[in-house]
Symmetry: C2
Subunit: 256 residues, 2 copies
């Protein structure tokens, strides 16, 4: 192999971080707070020392702290300093915060809670869809279901089709607030639980049956049945996945 053949690729490996400096700062500070290393009420170091610690200018540090404030993690006041807020104030829909919460949760408690919330919201939306006799909506759901059937067997595309189905239902429901919240949660859930695969041999089949039950209830305009079908589906499918009781691991940031 000639020495000069592919020099650029080997010599200039495209510097890794590249991303904005603030990202690393925010990420680290969020972790410190979520993991409790910085406790509620505690004061962060002043901007000067902190910016020096991270090796960034005070400007960047300040923008990062402003981000933390938006996430509800801290409150900053002139003359006093920046202190950590109680968890009740945290914006748990925030991707970074939610990911940090999930990653630092050995017992899967957060994902359990997330499942309860998703089940509540999505079942309400399923009920709403069943209530509004929307031919377009129903057709769209049936198409999504068909796509799932066709991709059964291929884990990746099946999961993607699964997401499409849930998203479609939420959009059809017309409740933009519930849709917004549920989608934020769902997105994080997918990114985090991706690791315990639906390896159960009959997972595809069960998932399809549950989805079919939802569509069926909606087509019959049976509100209560639609709610129950969605509620059961989300809880049951989570149980299927979490059973292997192994602690979830790893994280991948950006996802959308």
């Amino acid at each position: 192999m000639p020495a000069e053949s592919q020099p650029s690729a080997r010599l200039f490996p495209r510097r890794l971080p590249a991303g904005r400096l603030g990202v690393a700062v925010v990420s680290e500070l969020v972790d410190l707070i979520v993991t409790g290393q910085l406790k509620e009420g505690e004061l962060l170091p002043p901007e000067g020392p902190l910016s020096e610690h991270f090796g960034v200018s005070r400007t960047v540090l300040r923008e990062s702290v402003k981000r933390l404030e938006e996430k509800g993690l801290v409150v900053v006041s002139q003359g006093r300093g920046t202190q950590v807020r109680a968890p009740g104030y945290w914006n748990m829909l925030d991707p970074v915060v939610l990911s940090a919460l999930i990653d630092n949760d050995e017992t899967l408690g957060v994902l359990d809670e997330l499942t309860v919330v998703r089940a509540s919201l999505e079942s309400a939306m399923a009920g709403a869809v069943a209530g509004t006799r929307s031919a377009d909506g129903l057709r769209r759901l049936e198409n999504a279901l068909t796509t799932m059937r066709e991709s059964a067997g291929e884990t990746d595309s099946f999961r993607q089709a699964d997401v499409v189905f849930h998203y479609a239902l939420m959009e059809i429901s017309g409740n933009r607030l519930a849709e917004n919240i549920a989608k934020h949660l769902y997105k994080r859930a997918v990114d985090s639980s991706r690791y315990q695969g639906i390896d159960t041999p009959d997972a595809f089949d069960l998932t399809l049956k549950e989805h079919a039950a939802i569509v069926d209830a909606i087509s019959r305009q049976d509100v209560a049945a639609a709610q129950k079908a969605m509620h059961d589906h989300i809880h049951i499918s989570w149980e299927r996945r979490r059973l292997p009781d192994h602690a979830p691991r790893a994280r991948d940031q950006a996802s959308e």
Copy 2:
């Protein structure tokens, strides 16, 4: 009156904004986006002109834009500019965003949707409480209910007691995620619907009855009944309040 008696108080009326400069900038930009004056995909003016427009330095303007980015309202990319994101990305739990949404919603649609979400989450939490036989929790709820009874007649303290009751139940439920989301929503709802008072003569009585039904179901550890009682209560009480069909108005920022 001597000319020099109270010069500072009269001549320097403590500059109006008082708050940080960025607050006004963020507030105005949020409004522009939420009201659709800045449409999805549209580019904001560059930082230079924009900072000049608001009469602040580029520093302040940038921190404000970073806040908007955290709220999910815009996405900023180096070399290109800052563009408005689709509503699906907005963080609707954010106080400023949610308030703006509510204020710019003539049909009360947002509050209707908010009610659905609250009903779903709080009924789930009520069910959870009924499921866990917690003597402490039950006692706490009964105390809250008693406080409500005692303050019946006084709108303000009654409402406050109402909030205490709902908060208590959410905290007892043990689902911190649901609690977090529901509280954020509830907070905004209270701040916004405060204006159409519970003027119905029998409002106190009805509210008390509904709350009593919730506590009763929980004391009997009847999960389904507790869920239904809470669900009905939130929907019914909202119907009571929204009936006067008058458009909600006014806004007050800080509230917590």
